[in-house]
Amino acid sequence: MTDPTSLSPLDLETPDKTFLDANELVINMGPQHPATHGVLRVILRLDGEKVMGLECVIGYLHRGVEKIAENRTYTMFNPYVDRMDYVAAVSNGLGYCEAVEKLLNVEAPPRAQYVRVILTELNRMASHQLWLGTHALDIGAITPLFYTFRDREEILKIFEKYCGARLTTHAFRIGGLQYETYDGLEKDVKTFVSFVRPKIDEYEELLTTNRIWLERTKGVGKISGKDAIALGVTGPVLRASGVKWDIRKALPYANYKNFDFDIPTGENGDTYDRYLVRMAEFRQSLRIIEQAVDNIPEGPIMAKVPKVIKPPVGEIYHSIEAPKGELGYFIVSDGSTQPYRIRVRPPSFVNLQALEVMCRGQLVADVIAVIGTLDIVLGEVDR
């Protein structure tokens, strides 16, 4: 790996000699490893337990999504985006649909916007719940996993009721929604909100003040705001480093500007702060959902979109705040029914780059913690 620190010198202790002059141990972690969240392969150079350097080998899940896009129509490509970050499929769909809508210069009707916000925020919570469970599991706390999965189940039930799928939902269409909401969506969502609020306290009870959790996460995988920006890190990881930046506020999309919510930030940029930021995001998501579900306007759910989607010649970059960070779509249209080029800017891919900087000089166990805290989904890293 390279030294990405030339611009922003990081104060990392890089030992020049190994302990007792023993051989450097090179360990291959993954691609089959319980804690690499899929098929990430990390080649670690160790001095005893200390990480001297590491290199990520990725691409095991590469499916050539961008190439596929060039051979599908805009509509046909929509389900494919769900398969990138498969734990946050709704966000992926939102980003793609909005990008194409922008290219078409149409806007989804307000009712669709509200439903989109609700589902996306629910999805953000589901993604964070999955993150919390697996992250805690990596650090050795096995119980939170079952708690979070129990509650994530309720979100997936709502998805299933709405669009028939639980994971790769394909919830949105270019121009709005395909399905009118089912009777009782509002009620289900409200029930869920009141159900999950105490559950979040429950997760926090297990971890937030747990001494071992604090020791394992505080000061681990530190990254300063400056370095985070230089490395292009986005999402909760960036916010935990003290950069108060959220695309929902900075460059509002959907109708997030109508909602009142805060951007939780951390101070130290360590694993614990990232944990706190995500826990706070749970609550902010709940706030947004509560505001949205009470105010879903009546009206059409689909904008006036031609049956055959042929955006005019041009290119567009649109990004949204996915649970993992900035998820961007760069679409080049040549005026035909198929995109000339679609580039996905995956948050996990860029965030994963920070792994080396965050892990150098730390211990093996911290690598696990940092992989967990980066919240990567290999489907999105590799596309």
């Binding site: 270019i174 055959v308 900035e326 760069f330 860029v350």
Partner: protein, 247 residues
């Protein structure tokens, strides 16, 4: 690819790229290219509206509400926007320094500038250090096989202090390299590797220019338009099974 006909000012790199003139021209060439070299069966005729193959697909994604169901009643063509010049103090400054090498434009409210290849290292440096574009969102490329300068390479930049996102775009020919921006934005390390992996565009001075997503032994660069999606399958079947692929 060498017989590019539409390009008005092909030889001089210093000359105006004239995107406004170039842009409408490219799609036609591109479509011909993609339908010719990639595969023709999935690609409908480009300019005929509602080709017979497309309506079923469109219906699948069609709206449920009748209001929007009117087929092609309001075609997007009339509203099709065109890139307009983009003006701002920053542009004025850049223009002052670099003159005609920069072509700032706005399309659908998004600003971008087409920069001459020779100015790229300097412009990126200036954007990072003086104009506070401290976050490189993405680097990507687009392949236009019919053009003489086959590749558009884009830097998507964002400035935290200004809350502004721009794109910097340049055109390079096949085999031409670009300066690596890893010293400017650390994040571009993997992004440049991905561009190299997918398009075969090398970046000079990159610390570790090798494939990232594809295996090291992969042949070709898949996101080039002349790289068919069946190519790899055919080759694999040929080598490993010794028969023609049924795909």
């Amino acid at each position: 690819m060498p017989d590019e006909t539409k390009s008005p000012a092909s030889p001089p790199p210093e000359g105006e790229p004239k995107p406004t003139a170039d842009r409408p021209a490219t799609p036609g060439g591109v479509k011909a290219a993609s339908s010719g070299s990639v595969q023709s069966e999935t690609k409908p005729a480009p300019d005929k509206p509602a080709a017979p193959a497309t309506p079923p697909k469109a219906v699948a994604g069609a709206p449920a509400t009748p209001a929007a169901a009117k087929p092609a009643a309001a075609p997007p063509k009339p509203a099709a926007p065109v890139p307009t010049p983009w003006d701002s103090p920053m542009i004025a400054r850049l223009k002052g320094n670099y003159g005609s090498g920069i072509e700032p434009l706005t399309y659908l409210g998004q600003n971008y500038m087409v920069v001459d290849r020779s100015l790229i290292p300097e412009i990126l440096q200036v954007l990072r250090n003086e104009e506070q574009f401290d976050y490189c969102v993405d680097i990507t490329a687009v392949h236009y096989p019919k053009r003489e300068k086959q590749f558009d390479v884009l830097w998507i930049l964002y400035s935290f202090p200004r809350n502004e996102r721009i794109r910097v775009k340049t055109q390079i020919a096949d085999g031409q390299t670009l300066p690596s921006s890893v010293p400017i934005w650390a994040t571009t390390n993997w992004l440049e590797r991905e561009v190299f992996d997918m398009f075969g565009i090398s970046f000079d001075g990159h610390p570790d220019m090798k494939r990232i997503l594809l295996p090291d032994g992969w042949k070709g660069h898949p996101l080039r338009k002349d790289y068919g999606i069946l190519q790899q399958d055919n080759e694999w079947v040929q080598i490993n099974l010794g028969i023609e692929s049924g795909q």
